[in-house]
């Protein structure tokens, strides 16, 4: 009997679900609040909170209610369950968040089956938006940024590149997109090396690159601690980004990476859709407000969260507060707006983001290393889905 009682007591402690109240719209946010991706989740969640704070929690006469759920890291089984529970138990109308690709993919199935509007605010693998016809993305796709960089590099006189990338999904995607675009433009890849994901010692790889003395090096490593380690290896092995061009996706020179890389990072060229240093009145205000509220700069996670919230507010206004998945998704198709990162829009065919990709160089301004935008590629669609259609 005891065990039965224990089990019963535990289940009783769970309590039962709350009924959906009239006049409210519930938004379920699924993010890795704990674990190694917690910092990104916090940056995104803060932007979501800031948006609600500035724009009020009532849209088209409906009050917004947020329910936050933690996946604890890469856990598609958990993410899928949370999405299911949010819909059947908490009766949410909209699913949002999604920092990580596997989690977004598995929750996509739920969105498709339940016909719920879903906003992907970061996860950047191309195919994600094909999982549910009710899904929209407000962040970026990895190929979008890297293919733009590949084409740009050739146009700007770079003919040969050596590529180095971490041997896992995003690394393979990013390097693939860069190489493809670079080769299609006429460039030549003189060599490629895959680096272990869990190995932040890059000296051997960098030495190999140096021995080849390439015209340029393309690199992809996951954000976090690794860009700094890579920068250190560059400096130790004597590769000067001012002489051999070092290129990559924006994460490798984000705020925290630059802080630990030091002057060795000067001259690194990156392509990305957002940087807090972007020069526009709207972004200045966004960065200032974010700093005032949370004491640090927003990053691309914050940007995805901010625009995701903008999309939710805008579509709800358009449907006059009707949260039906079908109506919301048709409202968001083709929507365009001015974001702190610049002009963006939602591709009516793929429900993916169309945006400007900025080419930036690490420079010193006022004693601090910053990414300075010196060129841009406008209206970039996701190249993978564009190629799929052909």
């Amino acid at each position: 009997m005891r065990k039965a009682l224990v089990a019963a007591a535990i289940f009783a402690a769970l309590g039962s679900g709350t009924a959906s109240a009239q006049g409210t719209i519930k938004i379920g946010i699924i993010l890795p609040y704990s674990g190694q991706f917690a910092d990104g989740a916090a940056q995104m969640d803060n932007a979501i909170k800031l948006y609600v704070q500035q724009n009020g929690d009532t849209v088209a006469g409906k009050k917004l209610e947020f329910i936050r759920k933690d996946t604890g890291g890469i856990a598609p089984d958990v993410a899928k369950r949370l999405a299911q529970e949010l819909i059947v138990r908490d009766k949410v109308d909209i699913l949002a968040g999604f920092l990580l690709t596997p989690n977004a993919l598995s929750a996509g199935d739920v969105s498709a089956e339940a016909k719920k509007f879903m906003v992907v605010m970061n996860a950047a693998t191309s195919i994600i938006t094909t999982k549910s016809p009710y899904m929209v993305r407000t962040s970026l796709t990895t190929p979008q940024v890297n293919a733009s960089l590949g084409t740009w590099a050739y146009k700007n006189g770079i003919r040969k590149a050596y590529t180095m990338h971490s041997d896992y999904g995003p690394g393979i995607d990013a390097e693939g997109a860069f190489s493809k675009a670079f080769k299609e433009a006429g460039g030549e890849i003189i060599g490629t090396v895959k680096m272990a994901v869990a190995n932040p010692d890059f000296s051997a790889y960098v030495q190999r690159a140096k021995d080849l003395n390439p015209e340029s090096i393309y690199v992809f490593v996951p954000g976090g601690a690794q860009p700094a380690a890579f920068g250190k290896a560059l400096a130790e092995r004597g590769i000067d980004p001012q002489k051999i061009k070092v290129m990559g996706q924006g994460e490798i020179t984000d705020d925290s990476a630059l802080k630990s890389m030091g002057d060795g990072a000067l001259g690194i060229i990156t392509a990305f859709h957002y940087d807090p240093n972007h020069q526009s009145a709207m972004n200045k205000k966004f960065v200032a407000d974010f700093n005032a509220a949370y004491g640090r700069n927003p990053d691309f996670f914050s940007m995805g969260g901010w625009d995701g919230m903008h999309a939710i507010y805008a579509v709800l206004k358009k449907t006059n507060g009707d949260a039906d998945g079908e109506k919301l998704i048709s409202a968001v198709k083709g929507m365009a707006w001015e974001s702190p990162r610049g002009p963006i829009s939602i591709d009516p065919e793929t429900r993916d983001i169309i945006q400007t990709v900025y080419i930036r160089r690490v420079e010193k301004a006022g004693g601090k290393l910053v990414n300075v935008e010196f060129d841009k590629v406008e209206n970039v669609k996701d190249p993978v889905k564009a190629a799929m259609k052909k």
Binding site: V6, A7, L14, D70, E85, V88, T101, P102, L105, S106
Partner: protein, 330 residues
């Protein structure tokens, strides 16, 4: 549970152990309660059942045979990927998929058991840890097959018996997982309450003495390790099928560590330990992570320390002690 401890012959003792007592029957009846009491929690309940099965598989080797493993997720992951890949490449029938998962885990488990049976204690921890990491890295590098870090995409399950679809509410998922858990539990219970199970406990207590008594301990260890791998594979296959997704995390160190924590919380070597541990761990995670997502591991850590300090045989061990104290007073 301790009622027949004073029985005379080993056979009579085993028979007494094998008898179903009221607590056990009540426990299994209680597993049906979620269908009526918490119909909104069936998805969680199905994942609890799967975790419980995984913990049960670890209990067979850790609790009964004394094989410490920090890489048990290897078999869980093998089962998950096998079932997931079968469904991806056109065979989405759940029951045969489950068997394929069990088979794959069993074969690898059998091969590994030849190494496992030779070592004990710290060496075992290192070997199992290493094997788990190797397999996880293998799955990562076989990107074309496993989907790498993006996870396995395109897993589509057919309805069970062509009738029961895996629905959004998790009714099918829970019924399916619960039935599989119960059947596997019956098998595990039969094994433990057999002379084979008894000799396993002998090996756990003194691995040198058992061969001296004429029972080959390595053969026994190989057998139970393979059986345990099969059960873990079934659990993994269940997760792949009910969630229609497989990620690298099924092979991850975190999963091996979590299942060990679950088993120690509940009480190793008690069959129900893993089950109770899984309920507590998963419900706690669900509840804590709803309130303060950043800190839920803190509470699990605190609970684990408390259990290990005050209830060295786990929560069930503590309860058993309480009840025998109660009986001796009465």
């Amino acid at each position: 549970m301790t009622a027949a401890a004073a029985a005379t012959s080993p056979h009579a003792w085993l028979q007494a152990q094998a008898r179903w007592n009221r607590t056990e029957i009540a426990f299994w009846l209680a597993t049906l309660l979620p269908f009526w009491l918490f119909p909104d929690y069936l998805v969680l309940a199905s994942q609890i059942a799967i975790t419980a099965l995984f913990a049960l598989s670890l209990d067979l080797i850790l609790g009964y045979a004394g094989i410490v493993s920090l890489g048990h997720a290897a078999f869980f992951g093998l089962g998950a990927y096998t079932a997931g890949l079968a469904a991806k490449y056109g065979w989405g029938e759940p029951l045969t998929g489950l068997m394929l998962g069990a088979l794959a885990a069993g074969i690898v488990g059998y091969a590994a058991s030849f190494i496992i049976a030779r070592f004990r204690h710290l060496a075992l921890i290192m070997i199992t840890l290493g094997m788990g990491l190797l397999l996880a890295e293998l799955a990562n590098s076989l990107h074309w097959l496993t989907g790498g870090t993006d996870g396995l995409q395109g897993v589509k399950m057919w309805p069970i018996f062509n009738k029961f679809r895996f629905d959004l509410y998790g009714t099918t998922a829970y019924s399916y997982s619960l039935i599989v858990l119960f059947l596997c539990f019956l098998v595990a219970r039969r094994i433990i309450n057999s002379p084979f199970g008894l000799s396993l406990r002998g090996i756990r207590e003194n691995p040198l003495r058992m061969p001296a008594l004429g029972a080959s301990s390595r053969a026994h260890l190989r057998k139970i390790y393979t059986i345990s791998a099969v059960l873990a594979g079934i659990a993994g296959a269940l997760l792949a099928q009910t969630t229609e997704t497989v990620s690298l995390e099924v092979l991850g160190f975190q999963r091996s560590a979590d299942v060990l924590v679950i088993l120690i919380l509940g009480g190793a070597g008690r069959l129900y330990g893993g089950l109770v541990g899984a309920i507590i761990f998963m419900v706690a995670r669900d509840q804590f992570s709803g309130n303060t997502p950043q800190f839920w591991y803190f509470w699990i850590g605190a609970l684990l320390i408390a259990v290990v300090m005050f209830l060295p045989n786990g929560i069930l061990g503590g309860l058993a002690k309480l009840s025998s104290a109660w009986r001796s007073r009465a």
